[in-house]
Amino acid sequence: MIRVNDIYKSFGKIRAVQGVSFDAPDGKITGLLGPNGAGKSTTLRILYTVLKPDQGSASIDGADVVTASLQARQRIGALPHGAGLYPHLTARENIAYYAKLCGLDDHTLQERVESIVDLLEIGDFAERRSKGFSHGQRTKVALARALVHNPQNIILDEPSNGLDVMATRSLRDLILKLKDAGRCVLFSSHVMQEVAALCDDIVIIANGKVAIDDSADGIRQRTGRDDLEDAFVRAIEMVGPE
């Protein structure tokens, strides 16, 4: 369960996030939708504790991301935007390194690495050094290492960016599996269709503010647009310029 309560964040003069609030409950998929530069990544970076909010608070399963950031990090698996691997380590070593850092003991670690390698179909290239990996392979490994410690909350920043159709499909399947397992999944995207197809709840962000927070159907109703893309555009217009 992720709670975001009226957070603000500025970088110098740029006000990236200005009062964002939403809940992402367990067993649900929450989509963070918005145009480029809307403040999606900044919101997620605050949630996985690499940034501190200027104002407001956020918590992961009740652990505050600022005052109890270590506990909060224990409860999340995060895939930052453009996450990179260690090129001289094999896919399996990359995953195992994170598992070890998360404090898994040797026995559990072996098991978890095996199962995540199976789940994400990494087996074919698990023993190869990640130097020459394709974008899809890299994303899979980055995702695998984010999930290796079996976190309750999963934060993915534009995970489908640059993936081909097959990879996108398997990513979608994985997200659904996580939901069925009762996890809280929060991911960002700027692709309306992707979000609509997956999410139980959609949070549309524009100019650092929440434009709308509802289900796909709810968004259609409240914007009075049947087509989701029109609804998306309408919702952004409702926030207006800064």
Partner: protein
């Protein structure tokens, strides 16, 4: 502690697979010193052998006016050859560098000599050209001693003892020991060790911040349930290990190289046995923490890998400054110098190599102050690792 070890082990494995790190830690750093050193030593040996053994060819104008002088020069390993047309041409030839030194004997030479008037001989050379000046000095010395011999003969002919010409007899007494004489040249060694030390850890230090950021692996690792202090310390520990390896190899390669260098020919017998190697290693160990944290600190301010490399090459040069200053001023070890890292190590190493007793108080201050500064820099690194600007 577990996290720290995990990070340490991963960094070591990772970097052992990285050719660039290995090249700089295990090849560049350790071999650069001995190679340059061997080059310099061989050059100076060649030059010093030059003087005595090599026959010097000197063009002389007007040889026919002074046959005895020519014979004398030849007997001193100076080959007299035909020179330019006249004095003006000789000056021109020396100016352009066609000849290093030319001797001009005027027609009046024999006449003046017979008349006991100081006989004129011109030695044409370029004093600004140090290489040529060495040759000119040989000819000058030869002419001077010929002049002395003639003077002595004239006195004897007049029944006066030639001793009246030598009211003072100067005898050079050199108290420098063979090891001491080596110190000048071997003082360079301490910098090579520090250089190797820093080179060994350079790429790891960059990787800790700029490298991880550029690769996109910084944010993911910061989102793990580990503290940044542990990550930072694990990485600095790995950096230290590579620096230690580089230092050991550097010491080892010098140990081997010095055995093969004909240093006795230069009158040098450096004290660089296994014991000195070991002591030098211990003395330089504290510099590792300082170097690792300093490089990590500098790299953490940079925006990219390239920028970090540029700045760190400045850090590689920085330790030379104090060494350079004491070498120029030829300062002796003093208590207050021992608080300055790199300078203290240099001075203590020079003493060791000269085979002079090492002041234990000095060594202790050097070790402790270097460690303290290293610990302080590490603490600053850890503080900086927590700021958001790190993400770039």
């Amino acid at each position: 502690m577990r996290t720290l070890i995990t990070v340490f082990v991963k960094e070591v494995v990772d970097n052992f697979r990285d050719r660039r790190t290995l090249a700089s830690a295990l090849i560049m750093g350790p071999l650069f010193g001995p190679l340059l050193f061997a080059f310099v030593i061989n050059l100076s040996i060649e030059r010093s052998l030059d003087d005595i053994e090599r026959n010097l060819e000197v063009p002389v104008i007007g040889q026919e006016h002074a046959p005895n002088l020519m014979r004398y020069l030849r007997s001193h390993n100076i080959d007299v050859v035909a020179g330019p047309m006249d004095r003006a041409a000789a000056v021109e030839a020396v100016k352009t560098g066609a000849h290093d030194v030319v001797v001009f004997v005027p027609e009046s030479f024999g006449e003046q000599l017979a008349g006991s008037i100081p006989a004129q001989v011109d030695l044409i050379s370029d004093r600004a050209n140090t290489q040529a000046e060495r040759d000119a000095r040989r000819v000058r010395t030869a002419l001077h001693s010929y002049s002395q011999e003639l003077a002595a003969m004239r006195l004897v002919a007049r029944g006066v003892s030639p001793m009246v010409l030598r009211p003072i007899n100067v005898d050079d007494v050199d108290v420098s020991t063979p090891s001491g004489r080596s110190a000048m040249l071997l003082g360079m060694m301490s910098y090579f060790f520090i250089f190797a030390l820093l080179m060994g850890g350079m790429y790891l230090a960059i990787d800790t911040t700029a490298g991880e950021r550029e690769r996109g692996s910084l944010e993911p690792i910061l989102s793990l349930p580990v503290t940044r202090n542990q990550l930072m310390l694990g990485k600095i520990a790995a950096t230290c290990l590579f620096m230690a390896m580089s230092l050991l190899l550097s010491l080892g390669s010098f140990y081997v190289a010095l055995k093969f260098m004909p240093l006795e020919q230069l009158g040098m017998t450096p004290n660089f046995g296994a014991r000195t190697v070991f002591a030098a290693f211990l003395l330089l160990l504290p510099f590792m923490l300082l170097g690792a944290s300093l490089m990590t600190l500098v790299a953490s301010f940079t925006k990219s890998y390239k920028e970090a490399q540029t700045w760190l090459s400045v850090v590689l040069i920085a330790p030379t400054l104090p060494i350079l200053i004491v070498s120029i001023l030829t300062l002796r070890p003093r208590l207050e110098f021992m608080f300055v890292p790199s300078l203290s190590q240099h001075l203590l190493l020079v003493d060791m190599i000269k085979n002079e007793p090492v002041n234990l108080l000095h060594a202790a201050i050097s070790v402790l102050s270097t460690l303290a500064i290293g610990a302080m820099l590490t603490w600053i690194c850890a503080r900086l690792y927590r700021r958001e600007g790190l993400l770039g």
